[in-house]
Amino acid sequence: MKRSSQERRDLLSDRLPGTLLACAAVAPLALIASVSEAEDLTFVWHAGTCADAFVDIASDYPDAEVGIVPALVPYGPEWHIKIASEFAIQGDAFDFAMWDSQSTAEFAGGGHAYSVNEIFESSDVLSADLFPAGSLARYGEYPDGSGEFWGLPVNQDAYGFMYRRDLFENPDEQAAFKEKYGRDLAVPQTYQDARDVAEFFNRPDDELYGWGQMGGREYDFATTASNSFLWSYGGELYNPETYEVQGYLNSPASVDGVQAYVDMFQFGPPGSQNWGWDEVNAAFQQGKLAMAMQWYYFHGSNSDPASNPLAENTGFANLPGATGRDGLFRRQFSVGGQGMGINKYSGKVETLTAFMEWYFQPEQQKRYAAVCQTGLKSVLESDEWQSLNSYNSLFATALDYTNDYWHLPEYSILLDILQEEVSNAISGSKSVQEALDDAAMRHEETLERAGYEIVRSEETPEVPDAVISPVGSTEVVALPTN
């Protein structure tokens, strides 16, 4: 039944005061909410120990008006997608983000990152001198060598090595190894040595395997490991001067390296071809691995008896190098870690700069360095930090041997292609040569589509490292172990 006009007016007059009262009650809340949102600094990072440490330290930021809000995502493609999608719409859902060093080119090259050089100019506290030059270059410089920085080294990392000290120091094992291989059992300094040691300790019937490494298709798992082999054998991913990939990625030296990597899976547990870093950790902590490639990031948990029952018998070292087909020794492995980049669309640069001036003080960085790897030079070079545990001093050395993926905006596409082809080689569906041939061809197609001009050389080197930032030496340079 329809209401009369009078009934409708009565209804409105009855309910109007209550409605207005409710709006008046809610309005201040909305205002408070909007005011508090303006003082929050939101950051994106993958979840983990280092994010926990960052949040813990940030909770002590003296300015009570500013809250540091974490937006944590899983490690992997979701992390990159989160940042990239926000940049794609020029959004301000986060104010700063920790992204992989390889993503700096994509984000800075796309014009989404705020220039750190401007921060250095405007700040009385922050300057390039606070950080090791190599770290600043690695985690924030684009283009390479330009002196233009787009991120600060907030969390350094490198691909490292861990081994079962009890096995290596066992007199019976040492004697047996010497008898079989004619040399002393020691932490390998070359991948050629590593293969022999892995073969020696490979005892599937005893649930012990000689070598653990990543091989997963996801994100950068396989290529983090395969690149470490590739570079050590003198290979290169491409020529940064000419943008040639064919003849470099699929050079004889590169094939040697990736072949050595694929061959090592025979000394790993069944299914290790699909491993990420978590599986490597799990297998090592269960006592299944004599040696393993693993990020320094996890050395903390692997040296903690609460996480690793074999912590007391876990030793650390830097990854081996290799003697290439040209007879030169090289040692290079994947850099990890993240730089802290600022969202250009944030609008809170001033507030963020103030926070960064506080956060990158030695006091805060020492707290961070107790858990993860800081980028502050004064802390990195201190005896106090280097003697904090058994692997920090090794890490300080590791930074000199790191190499990285392409610092190009097309990094994510190139990565996915290489991941796919290396996975094909691991599975045996392609030979290593075929996989790298296809990867090189597809990479060049990608670069050409992106507008790069590939300048063909008359001939390409058998060992690309010989012509691109050569690092070879005539003798094996041994690094200390712990």
Binding site: A47, D52, A71, E86, A88, I89, A282
Partner: protein, 287 residues
Amino acid sequence: MRRENTAAFLPALVVIGIYLLFSLGPVLWMVVSSLKDRQELFSWPPSLIFTPDVSSYAAVFGLGDSSQSAASIGLVGALFTSIIVSVCGTALAVGFGVLAGYAASRFAFPGRNDFMFFVLSTRMIPPVAVLVFYHYMFSRLGLTDTIPGLVLVTTFINLGLATWIMKGFFDGVPQEVENVALVNGYTRLYAFWHLVLPMVRGGMAATAGFCFIFAWNEFTFSSVLATTKATTLPVKISSAMGATGIEWAQICAAGVVLVLPVVVFFWLIRKYLLMGMTFGVLGGSRT
């Protein structure tokens, strides 16, 4: 007679048992894993007899030692966000789907078949293909990282499915039901609300069930459109990573928490689900 019935039913029991093992096995594995510590979790062969460890559940709710972990803070908030987004999104999708399905079933408007194909095609698009456009649109409308925004997304995702399913159920209701009401002077709205709708309750329950599952498990849009304030539980669970790596026990515990509301929901609508599944079995269906 009873012995014959039992003998006849035995093969069915075996098949059902195998199916239950197949479908419930992973869930039981998840429950068992949520009660193990990390070492126990990775042991081989896996142990079914062990000392339960509930610390992962404490971490899920940010209690005790885990309360300071950035990965465990806010799981309770994420749970409530998921409940609100899923319930509201399902209600809206089913509500609009019922109306759209009824219209498509009863009114031969021009382009009806094309319209229905368009509706169905929205289910063919992988979410990631439209993700950036949604992100852009929602950002400009101020809907990113908001619960209303996620409710809208959930509604859009499920509206096509709800419309398609409900049209099928309405096709199974004889037109004569409404004709009797119309002939007797009642409005179509009256006939729809009082006569037709009660007949498709089961269908609505089934539709709501499907929509709720999709809404509850939705990850792609939630991970990008929400940042801190409107994070849903699937997104929160995926970032459970601590000092030792991926916190599998925590993920399993959170998975148990994630599954429970769906189990409760389906328990509540089980009667209507059965009605919906058998609706139209004895009658004919119309296009």
